[in-house]
């Protein structure tokens, strides 16, 4: 105790004139409001940071706790809330833990206020550690980081990922023309079998010699009823179908085509109804007339076509439509990137000369041009191409042109910056030498600057094309045309086979471009 007092008094004597001297205990007391003790003793930044960080952690923790209260009020705990209640429980844990760390930091802050007042402020290691722990704890909750979920549900990505990584399954990528053989019989249906049959018998379609045909028994009746909540329904008329002259051993599917609704394939236990003809091409099948809606305004019974259909793959296989869509998309994307790069190149070259300090520092006018051009390029470059795409879509409507505009704007700014920096980095000696011959500014640029900047310009331009191809896939996703348009549709439709095709095409093109650009760069630099 004695020693402590001596220390504090000696440090007070030694403290520099700029130090505000207050009693050490007062420093601690002031720091009950976080950071105030430090502020008063002229540790301005330390005080501001301590107070801001500690108050922030408390504030964020209380906000997350508050969210849970609201949630509990909306969903009274009487209902099972397995998934909904978990985040709420977590919120309590995380928020309390963060507040615990903040409290330790707060206690340290009081000590630090005391130490600062004694003129013996030490490096704020302890404070940094606990403030950091508190920040990361509450941050983990705010961003809903849930490693447990990530691990538990890892099985879900497997099939999707394999679809995306290998979409080249022949069953999925190839299609055949189908040739169908049908036998048809007519059936009269009404809500009441007796009404339907009063109109019969039905005239069956005429069949040519050798063609498949059907014989049904009976040829009138009622469809199945709707399912009641108890899971029961009135079964429709049981129909016996006999088929003749079908292709032997080739399954035939039942298709029902009422006048009132589109054709459909009835299912029993989720399987379509099929029959396999014997070696003579004959079969026999029984089914109940399925449910379908008979329009209220129908007068008399509805005629239903009962079709047994055999399909055969004929001719050579061809690639699915999605493949061609993706191919069209990647071609559009490539050209989109090419046009944007070309337009960007043409406009960025003059801009870059205006934005090169070494060429523009001749006098006040050129220097102010330099400054303005540089500023504009920095602002344009800091706005992401996706934002430019949204603006361009408002301007010219969705499609590749909007994508070209968006990428061009960004390319001008990005290339202009890279170009102007490579102009600034050139050897000044040749410029001096060319100037000394009496050449004017244009000649100096063409003879001394241009030869020096061609290698970096070529290199940066190709690199930019590379970037633009990759970026235009994203631009497409917001409506800028190209492969991104179909890619984002397939992602939303969960059509992962097609997503895989698109991803493969992007990967192939980017890889080829990457290789080509490195070769061209080697040749030029």
């Amino acid at each position: 105790m004695n020693e402590l007092e001596q220390k504090s008094s000696s440090s007070n004597q030694q403290s520099s004139p700029t130090q505000v001297i207050i009693p050490p205990l007062a420093g601690g007391v002031l720091s009950i409001i976080p950071g105030l003790g430090q502020l008063v003793t002229r540790h301005i930044w330390r005080g501001i940071l301590i107070s801001f960080l500690i108050i922030s952690i408390y504030g964020l923790s209380l906000w997350r706790l508050d969210e849970t209260d609201v949630a509990f009020e909306l969903f009274p705990p009487s209902i099972e809330l397995t998934d909904l209640s978990r985040p709420q429980e977590e919120a309590v844990t995380y928020a309390l833990l963060a507040m615990f760390f903040a409290t330790i930091a707060y206690i340290w802050n009081i000590y630090d206020g005391y130490a600062c007042a004694r003129g013996k402020s030490s490096p704020p290691r302890l404070g940094i550690v606990f403030i950091l722990l508190g920040t990361l704890t509450i941050g983990g909750h705010i961003t809903e980081i849930n490693l447990g979920k990530a691990i538990r549900e890892i099985d879900d990505i497997g099939p999707r990922l394999s679809q995306i990584l290998w979409p080249w399954n022949p069953d999925k990528i190839l299609e055949y023309d189908l040739e169908t053989t049908e036998g048809v019989a007519y059936f009269l249906a009404s809500d009441s079998a007796s009404v339907a049959c009063a109109f019969g018998p039905v005239e069956q379609p005429t069949v040519e010699e050798g063609e498949p045909y059907l014989v049904i028994e009976p040829d009138c009746g009622q469809p199945s009823g709707q399912f009641t909540p108890s899971g029961m329904r009135a079964e429709g008329t049981k129909i016996k179908v006999q088929g003749f002259n079908f292709i032997p051993n080739e399954p035939a599917e039942l298709v029902v085509k009422p006048e009132s609704v589109p054709a459909f394939r009835p299912r029993v236990n989720a399987e379509v109804i099929t029959a396999i003809p014997d070696e003579n091409g004959n079969f026999e099948l029984e089914f109940n007339m399925p449910n379908f809606t008979i329009p209220a305004e129908a007068v008399g019974p509805v005629q239903v076509e009962i079709i047994m259909r055999q399909s055969q793959k004929v001719g050579a296989p061809y690639l699915v439509e999605e493949f061609w869509l993706a191919l069209e998309g990647i071609v559009v994307t490539l050209f989109l990137a090419l046009m944007a790069t070309a337009a960007g190149l043409v406009l960025a070259v003059p801009m870059s000369f205006l934005a090169a300090r070494n060429l523009m520092s001749t006098n006040a006018i050129t220097y102010s041009i330099y400054y303005v051009v540089r500023l504009v390029m920095n602002v344009v470059r800091s706005i992401e191409p996706i934002i430019w795409a949204l603006i361009a879509i408002i301007w010219v409507g969705p499609g590749p042109f909007a994508g070209v505009i968006a990428l061009t704007v960004h390319t001008i700014a990005a290339l202009g910056k890279l170009y102007s920096e490579s102009i600034e980095n050139i050897d000044n000696g040749p410029i001096e030498a060319i100037q000394a011959t009496g050449a004017n500014r244009l000649q100096t640029i063409i003879y001394a600057v241009v030869p020096q900047v061609i290698p970096p310009f070529v290199s940066f331009t190709i690199y930019r094309w590379d970037i633009n191809v990759r970026m235009s896939t994203i631009i497409g996703a917001v409506g800028g045309g190209g492969i991104g348009v179909v890619l984002i549709q397939w992602i939303r439709l969960a059509d992962y086979d097609s997503v895989g095709i698109a991803v493969w095409m992007i990967a192939i093109v980017v890889t080829i471009l990457d290789y080509a650009s490195s070769r061209i760069r080697e040749a030029y630099v």
Partner: protein, 273 residues
């Protein structure tokens, strides 16, 4: 008649460096004037003031009766093309061909719009080949400049200077980046131009033996001031006292006619001060 007259020339750079202080001298037509002095003594600044790569703060430079500190634009360019310059680092455009580098010496006489199309009149091309023949390397015309050795690059630099049909050649330490044998061959070219064509040469040099061998007149600079003026005879018998005046107290003479450059402790610094 004096081709060049420098009067009370001052140069203060933006950072406050006093590079030249009250420098005055005259150069007669046909002289081989050598400027000596330590790195940082203002040699490069002085040479660059003469062709206005550097604009002097005050003072006058009369070239053929024209005060070139007062001219701008077209007249400045027309004056510049009569004053060729050779550099320590050669300052060739390294990625361009030798012939293109030589042709660039004629730019002051060519229509600037031609440079946009890359058109070069056949006459200019022929003159460029002739200039290359004069420096003894016509066979290299199609090589890239950076494929040449240092001595060859400096010869291309001289060929470029010849393309200007200059009345005055400024040589800023033309041999400081070359070994002594090459140094002599380069200075021999300059001397030949000086003697045979009567071209006036102003050259900054480091090596005393080279100064004694080539100079018809010498001025010494120290911290931007002229501290020594001597004729060819004077430099042959330069005294230690005069020598120290130019190169500072710590300088030592290496034998008779030793190498001045090696005594200065800050040698090797670049010359763009």
């Amino acid at each position: 008649m004096a081709i060049l007259k420098v009067e009370n020339l001052y140069k203060v750079y933006e950072d406050g460096t006093q590079a030249l202080k009250d420098v005055s001298f005259e150069v007669e037509e046909g002289e081989f004037l050598v400027v000596i002095g330590l790195s940082g003594s203002g040699k490069s600044t002085l040479l660059r003031c003469i062709n206005r790569l550097v604009t002097p703060t005050s003072g006058h430079i009369w070239f053929n009766g024209v005060d070139i500190t007062r001219i701008h634009g077209k007249r400045l360019r027309e004056t510049r093309r009569e004053i060729a310059m050779i550099f320590q680092q050669f300052n060739l455009v390294k990625r361009s061909k030798v012939i293109t580098n030589v042709i660039s010496g004629r730019l002051g006489y060519m229509n600037p719009l031609w440079s946009l199309t890359g058109y070069v009149p056949p006459k200019v091309r022929e003159d460029a080949m002739q200039a290359l023949r004069q420096v003894g390397m016509p066979e290299k015309y199609n090589n890239r400049a950076d494929a040449l050795s240092g001595g060859q690059q400096q010869r291309v630099g001289i060929a470029r200077a010849l393309m200007q049909n200059p009345k005055l050649i400024l040589a800023d330490e033309p041999v400081a980046s070359l070994d002594p044998v090459l140094a002599h061959s380069i200075l021999d070219y300059l001397e030949k131009l000086n003697k045979e064509r009567g071209l006036t040469v102003i050259c900054s040099l480091h090596y005393l033996d080279l100064v004694q061998r080539y100079a018809t007149r010498v001025i010494g600079l120290r911290q931007g001031e002229v501290v020594y003026r001597g004729s060819r005879e004077d430099i042959q018998r330069i005294t230690d006292k005069e020598f120290r005046q130019i190169y500072g107290e710590e300088a030592q003479r290496l034998g008779g006619g030793g190498i001045l450059g090696e005594v200065s402790t800050i040698e090797g610094a670049t010359t763009h001060e």
